[in-house]
């Protein structure tokens, strides 16, 4: 079955694939994770706000983005970001936005919806009495959130947040549809150049599988260690 295979195509190109393609993917993943968690936490705080209008805005945003495909969201932002940028700086024509920036904005805005739902559950898992105790001590909303609720909520939710990050890492492969130079896009370009689709796609699948499986096993071990003993 493997007699017609030519794995040389991989030994010739793995450096480009890993140090450019996979590096791009990882970079987008990590930056989008940080941005997504920050924005997602803000969204979660908005959703839990007692002011109806604020929680409605956040809820609508989250539910809206969660009900359309990521592929469509990527297209939306790919075309929309230049116009938003133009509007922000008051330029009459759509500005040029780099592929990297466009992808990053997309994933931060999209994954924030999923991180938001996780952080919402995390905030709600903190007993209400702690918030009351904080306010009784004279802390304001931001102090209660920043010093009492969020550190614990975040810690409780670390395993789930990381699991979502693994999903994000896999989702980044979808930038293939707008031809950004991520791992999958580079692999498919080299595969087509060398006429070696089979070897290349198997290689890509194995790399993703190994990374995601080891990360998810790591998360499982972490899960038992970060649990707060009450």
């Amino acid at each position: 079955m493997f007699e017609n295979f030519d794995f040389n195509t991989i030994s010739r190109s793995w450096e480009v694939l890993i140090f450019q393609g996979l590096a791009f993917t990882l970079q987008v993943t990590l930056l989008a994770m940080v941005g997504g968690i920050i924005f997602g936490t803000l969204l979660a705080m908005m959703r839990l706000s007692s002011i109806k209008a604020i929680s409605w805005i956040a809820g609508t945003y989250v539910n809206f983005l969660r009900s359309i495909p990521l592929v469509l969201v990527i297209f939306w932002f790919f075309f929309l970001v230049p116009y938003i940028g133009a509007w922000l700086i008051g330029s009459p024509t759509p500005i040029k936005v780099g592929a990297f920036a466009s992808a990053l904005v997309t994933f931060i805005m999209f994954e924030a919806c999923y991180y938001c739902e996780i952080m919402r559950a995390g905030i709600q898992s903190i007993p209400r009495g702690q918030v009351n105790a904080g306010s009784a001590l004279g802390l304001n909303y931001w102090q209660v959130m920043g010093n009492v609720v969020l550190p614990q909520a975040f810690r409780n939710m670390i395993p789930v947040l990381l699991t979502q990050t693994i999903v994000l890492f896999q989702d980044v492969s979808l930038v293939y549809i707008i031809s950004l130079p991520d791992f999958v896009t580079l692999a498919s370009k080299i595969a087509q150049r060398d006429g070696r689709l089979i070897e290349m796609y198997l290689f890509v699948a194995v790399v993703y599988f190994v990374i995601c499986l080891s990360l998810s096993m790591l998360v499982k071990r972490l899960q038992s260690r970060v649990a707060i003993v009450r």
């Binding site: 498919s188 689709l197 993703y208 599988f209």
Partner: protein
């Protein structure tokens, strides 16, 4: 914003001679639904079987089920689609591979296969969680009454487990419909792909994507309402908390 809106574009003829842009978008919606629903049926059957296997006392079944879930969960859907589309036909015996490649609607069937396996792993995870959330006493009571293990599953555990996991299954169903958009990478002309090609032909980017977005929202609403009705319909009075009250 410096952009020429033209909402009348939907009633203009599209250059692929299949009718107006609106008609091509609806044709795309039909492909999206066909792919999503077909894949969902397979995913549900496969996922139920694998998920059940993972809760049995039979060790090799548990290991096989776990390996299956890990395999399909840890490779991006896009890469899985490429594997089914480009790689699998080459690894099969030559005659089969040629038959697959010459099949009409090859990208549709490839997308269905890829989505079925991908989603079945996630369904299996839900089914396992559902069964394990039942009190252990139910399995014991079943076997104590003289039911065999398959009978206990069929008459005691699975009917309850499926009722419990209906809400997460609803979101998996929504996911499979949304994920069918990934199939545009292997040439399936579903809704998102049609919106993209409409944008390429007409340059009305935002009208095209707005229409596609509204169609996805509509499908979502219909599925959510439908599944809520199913939840009420199958609810056992006095069991599975909130939904049985109405």
């Amino acid at each position: 914003m410096n952009y020429n809106w033209n909402w009348g574009i939907f009633w203009e003829l599209s250059p692929d001679a299949s009718g107006t842009y609106m008609e091509t978008l609806f044709a795309g919606l039909r492909w999206t639904l066909a792919t999503g629903v077909t894949a969902w049926i397979f995913a549900l059957l496969l996922g139920a079987a694998i998920g059940t296997m993972r809760t049995t006392p039979v060790k090799w079944m548990v290991m096989l089920g776990n390996a299956y879930v890990e395999l399909f969960r840890n490779i991006p859907l896009l890469v899985q689609m490429f594997l089914w589309f480009f790689v699998v036909p080459e690894l099969l015996p030559k005659a089969w591979g040629t038959w697959i490649k010459q099949m009409p609607n090859a990208s549709f069937w490839t997308a269905v296969v890829a989505l079925s396996f991908f989603t079945s792993a996630r369904v299996a995870e839900q089914v396992r969680a559902g069964i394990q959330s039942l009190p252990r006493g139910q399995l014991m009571a079943g076997t104590a009454l003289g039911l065999t293990l398959p009978q206990t599953y069929r008459y005691v555990l699975l009917p309850m487990a499926f009722r419990i996991i209906l809400p997460p299954l609803t979101s998996e169903f929504l996911n499979v419909i949304k994920n069918s958009a990934v199939a545009l990478a292997i040439g399936l002309m579903e809704l998102t792909a049609r919106a993209r090609s409409m944008q390429e032909f007409s340059f009305q980017v935002f009208e095209a994507f707005t229409a596609a977005t509204l169609m996805y929202l509509l499908v979502n609403t219909v599925v959510v309402l439908g599944m809520r009705w199913v939840e009420r319909w199958v609810a056992v009075p006095g069991y599975v908390g909130k939904n049985s009250g109405s």
